[in-house]
Protein backbone atom coordinates (compact mmCIF):
# COMPACT_ATOMS: atom_id res chain seq x y z
CA UNK A 1 0.00 0.00 0.00
CA UNK A 2 1.56 3.36 -1.00
CA UNK A 3 2.37 5.91 1.64
CA UNK A 4 -0.32 8.50 2.18
CA UNK A 5 0.77 11.84 0.63
CA UNK A 6 0.98 14.75 3.02
CA UNK A 7 1.64 18.45 2.82
CA UNK A 8 4.84 19.97 4.08
CA UNK A 9 5.16 23.57 5.21
CA UNK A 10 8.03 25.02 3.22
CA UNK A 11 9.81 28.21 4.21
CA UNK A 12 12.36 29.78 1.87
CA UNK A 13 14.54 32.59 3.14
CA UNK A 14 16.54 35.02 0.98
CA UNK A 15 18.92 37.54 2.51
CA UNK A 16 17.67 40.46 0.45
CA UNK A 17 14.00 39.70 1.00
CA UNK A 18 12.08 41.44 3.75
CA UNK A 19 10.22 38.28 4.66
CA UNK A 20 10.41 34.56 3.90
CA UNK A 21 8.35 32.79 1.26
CA UNK A 22 6.00 30.27 2.88
CA UNK A 23 3.67 27.74 1.30
CA UNK A 24 2.47 24.22 1.88
CA UNK A 25 3.52 21.72 -0.78
CA UNK A 26 2.62 18.10 -1.39
CA UNK A 27 5.62 15.89 -0.66
CA UNK A 28 5.76 14.86 -4.34
CA UNK A 29 6.44 18.40 -5.58
CA UNK A 30 9.97 18.93 -6.88
CA UNK A 31 12.47 21.36 -5.43
CA UNK A 32 12.62 22.91 -8.89
CA UNK A 33 8.99 23.95 -8.52
CA UNK A 34 9.65 25.43 -5.09
CA UNK A 35 12.65 27.30 -6.50
CA UNK A 36 10.61 28.77 -9.33
CA UNK A 37 7.78 29.78 -7.02
CA UNK A 38 10.11 31.38 -4.51
CA UNK A 39 11.95 33.36 -7.19
CA UNK A 40 8.61 34.71 -8.38
CA UNK A 41 7.60 35.55 -4.82
CA UNK A 42 10.87 37.41 -4.23
CA UNK A 43 10.49 39.32 -7.50
CA UNK A 44 13.59 37.75 -9.03
CA UNK A 45 13.55 37.39 -12.82
CA UNK A 46 16.03 34.70 -13.88
CA UNK A 47 17.77 35.72 -17.12
CA UNK A 48 20.56 33.19 -17.44
CA UNK A 49 23.30 35.40 -16.00
CA UNK A 50 22.74 34.26 -12.43
CA UNK A 51 22.29 30.76 -11.11
CA UNK A 52 19.76 30.41 -8.31
CA UNK A 53 19.71 27.40 -6.02
CA UNK A 54 18.32 26.25 -2.70
CA UNK A 55 20.30 24.98 0.27
CA UNK A 56 19.20 22.74 3.12
CA UNK A 57 21.36 22.02 6.15
CA UNK A 58 24.34 23.56 4.35
CA UNK A 59 24.05 21.53 1.16
CA UNK A 60 22.73 22.51 -2.24
CA UNK A 61 19.48 20.68 -3.04
CA UNK A 62 19.14 19.16 -6.53
CA UNK A 63 16.10 20.52 -8.35
CA UNK A 64 14.90 17.04 -9.30
CA UNK A 65 14.52 15.94 -5.69
CA UNK A 66 11.08 16.17 -4.12
CA UNK A 67 10.03 18.14 -1.08
CA UNK A 68 9.30 14.86 0.68
CA UNK A 69 12.74 13.44 -0.06
CA UNK A 70 14.43 16.47 1.47
CA UNK A 71 12.08 16.90 4.42
CA UNK A 72 12.14 13.22 5.39
CA UNK A 73 9.73 12.79 8.29
CA UNK A 74 9.63 16.51 9.09
CA UNK A 75 6.48 18.53 8.50
CA UNK A 76 8.40 21.78 8.10
CA UNK A 77 11.19 22.38 5.60
CA UNK A 78 13.47 25.43 5.74
CA UNK A 79 15.37 26.20 2.55
CA UNK A 80 17.77 29.05 1.83
CA UNK A 81 17.93 30.74 -1.56
CA UNK A 82 21.44 31.49 -2.80
CA UNK A 83 22.82 33.04 -5.98
CA UNK A 84 25.88 32.65 -8.18
CA UNK A 85 26.80 35.08 -10.92
CA UNK A 86 27.64 32.95 -13.95
CA UNK A 87 28.02 35.67 -16.60
CA UNK A 88 29.40 39.16 -16.35
CA UNK A 89 31.97 38.29 -13.69
CA UNK A 90 35.19 38.79 -15.56
Amino acid sequence: MPNKPHDIEVKVTFATADRPYRREYADSVTIGTVLGDSLAAFGVAADGTTRYYLKHDGDEVPVDKTVGEIAGHAHVLHLKLRTETIQGAS
Partner: protein, 145 residues
Protein backbone atom coordinates in the same frame (compact mmCIF):
# COMPACT_ATOMS: atom_id res chain seq x y z
CA UNK B 1 28.40 57.70 7.74
CA UNK B 2 24.83 58.97 7.99
CA UNK B 3 22.43 58.08 10.79
CA UNK B 4 20.27 55.76 8.65
CA UNK B 5 23.34 53.78 7.61
CA UNK B 6 24.54 53.49 11.20
CA UNK B 7 21.17 52.36 12.52
CA UNK B 8 20.50 49.91 9.70
CA UNK B 9 23.97 48.40 9.90
CA UNK B 10 23.52 47.89 13.63
CA UNK B 11 20.25 46.09 12.89
CA UNK B 12 21.79 43.76 10.30
CA UNK B 13 25.21 43.00 11.80
CA UNK B 14 24.03 40.35 14.32
CA UNK B 15 22.74 38.07 11.55
CA UNK B 16 26.06 38.39 9.73
CA UNK B 17 27.96 37.56 12.93
CA UNK B 18 25.76 34.51 13.47
CA UNK B 19 26.20 33.31 9.89
CA UNK B 20 30.00 33.63 9.94
CA UNK B 21 30.41 32.07 13.37
CA UNK B 22 28.27 29.08 12.34
CA UNK B 23 31.09 28.06 10.00
CA UNK B 24 34.04 28.97 12.20
CA UNK B 25 34.48 32.56 11.02
CA UNK B 26 33.75 35.90 12.65
CA UNK B 27 32.96 39.52 11.92
CA UNK B 28 35.34 42.15 13.28
CA UNK B 29 34.87 45.90 13.73
CA UNK B 30 37.59 47.46 15.88
CA UNK B 31 37.53 50.74 17.78
CA UNK B 32 40.03 52.23 15.35
CA UNK B 33 38.07 51.19 12.26
CA UNK B 34 36.02 53.91 10.59
CA UNK B 35 32.24 53.58 10.63
CA UNK B 36 31.09 51.12 7.99
CA UNK B 37 34.37 49.16 7.83
CA UNK B 38 34.23 45.48 8.79
CA UNK B 39 36.58 42.54 8.47
CA UNK B 40 34.85 39.24 7.69
CA UNK B 41 36.98 36.27 8.68
CA UNK B 42 35.83 33.33 6.54
CA UNK B 43 36.67 29.72 7.32
CA UNK B 44 36.23 27.61 4.17
CA UNK B 45 34.59 24.22 4.58
CA UNK B 46 37.34 22.33 2.71
CA UNK B 47 39.57 20.30 5.05
CA UNK B 48 42.94 21.90 5.87
CA UNK B 49 41.91 25.19 4.26
CA UNK B 50 42.93 28.41 5.96
CA UNK B 51 40.90 31.50 6.76
CA UNK B 52 40.34 34.42 4.41
CA UNK B 53 39.89 37.99 5.58
CA UNK B 54 37.50 40.13 3.57
CA UNK B 55 37.64 43.90 4.01
CA UNK B 56 34.08 45.17 3.63
CA UNK B 57 33.54 48.91 3.56
CA UNK B 58 30.05 50.40 3.47
CA UNK B 59 29.44 54.05 2.63
CA UNK B 60 25.66 54.35 2.39
CA UNK B 61 23.84 51.39 3.89
CA UNK B 62 21.75 49.66 2.64
CA UNK B 63 21.45 51.70 -0.54
CA UNK B 64 24.89 51.14 -2.09
CA UNK B 65 27.02 47.99 -2.37
CA UNK B 66 30.22 47.87 -0.33
CA UNK B 67 33.81 47.94 -1.43
CA UNK B 68 34.94 44.34 -1.02
CA UNK B 69 38.62 43.40 -1.04
CA UNK B 70 40.78 40.77 0.66
CA UNK B 71 43.77 41.07 2.95
CA UNK B 72 46.16 38.47 4.40
CA UNK B 73 45.05 39.50 7.90
CA UNK B 74 42.96 42.15 9.63
CA UNK B 75 44.37 45.66 9.06
CA UNK B 76 46.89 44.54 6.44
CA UNK B 77 46.83 46.00 2.91
CA UNK B 78 44.64 44.40 0.26
CA UNK B 79 47.40 44.40 -2.34
CA UNK B 80 48.76 40.93 -1.51
CA UNK B 81 47.27 38.31 -3.87
CA UNK B 82 48.02 35.59 -1.32
CA UNK B 83 45.13 36.91 0.72
CA UNK B 84 42.68 36.49 -2.14
CA UNK B 85 40.60 33.46 -3.12
CA UNK B 86 40.90 31.97 -6.59
CA UNK B 87 37.20 32.34 -7.30
CA UNK B 88 35.51 33.33 -10.53
CA UNK B 89 35.38 37.11 -10.87
CA UNK B 90 37.82 37.67 -7.99
CA UNK B 91 40.67 39.49 -9.73
CA UNK B 92 43.44 39.52 -7.14
CA UNK B 93 44.52 41.92 -5.85
CA UNK B 94 42.46 44.53 -7.67
CA UNK B 95 38.73 43.94 -7.43
CA UNK B 96 35.81 41.53 -7.38
CA UNK B 97 33.78 41.77 -10.55
CA UNK B 98 30.45 40.76 -9.04
CA UNK B 99 27.13 42.59 -8.72
CA UNK B 100 27.36 42.65 -4.92
CA UNK B 101 30.47 44.86 -4.82
CA UNK B 102 30.94 48.58 -5.41
CA UNK B 103 33.85 47.74 -7.69
CA UNK B 104 31.74 45.42 -9.85
CA UNK B 105 28.85 47.85 -10.11
CA UNK B 106 31.24 50.68 -11.04
CA UNK B 107 32.80 48.58 -13.77
CA UNK B 108 29.50 47.31 -15.19
CA UNK B 109 27.19 50.31 -15.33
CA UNK B 110 24.64 48.13 -17.13
CA UNK B 111 24.17 46.28 -13.83
CA UNK B 112 22.38 49.32 -12.41
CA UNK B 113 19.13 47.85 -13.71
CA UNK B 114 17.91 44.31 -14.31
CA UNK B 115 18.78 41.13 -12.45
CA UNK B 116 22.21 42.41 -11.36
CA UNK B 117 20.86 45.62 -9.83
CA UNK B 118 21.77 46.18 -6.21
CA UNK B 119 18.97 45.10 -3.87
CA UNK B 120 18.70 47.24 -0.75
CA UNK B 121 15.94 45.23 0.90
CA UNK B 122 16.19 42.59 3.61
CA UNK B 123 19.72 42.24 4.96
CA UNK B 124 22.16 43.24 2.17
CA UNK B 125 25.18 42.76 4.47
CA UNK B 126 24.18 39.12 4.95
CA UNK B 127 23.60 38.76 1.20
CA UNK B 128 27.15 39.98 0.44
CA UNK B 129 28.77 37.71 3.02
CA UNK B 130 26.71 34.67 1.95
CA UNK B 131 27.85 35.21 -1.62
CA UNK B 132 31.53 35.53 -0.83
CA UNK B 133 31.46 32.48 1.44
CA UNK B 134 29.73 30.43 -1.28
CA UNK B 135 32.26 31.63 -3.88
CA UNK B 136 35.18 30.66 -1.64
CA UNK B 137 33.75 27.24 -0.85
CA UNK B 138 32.97 26.62 -4.52
CA UNK B 139 36.74 26.63 -5.25
CA UNK B 140 37.56 24.61 -2.14
CA UNK B 141 39.21 27.54 -0.40
CA UNK B 142 41.90 27.83 -3.10
CA UNK B 143 44.09 30.93 -3.05
CA UNK B 144 44.99 33.17 -5.96
CA UNK B 145 48.69 32.96 -5.12
Amino acid sequence: MDIESTITLARDVPQVEEFLSSSGGRLVHREEDPAGLYWAVVQPTAPASTQFVARISWTVYPHRPPSLLFAPAISLPTSDPRGWPEASGYRAPNDICKPFTAEGQALHTEWATGPHAWRNTGNPFLFVVENLVEDINRVGGARAA
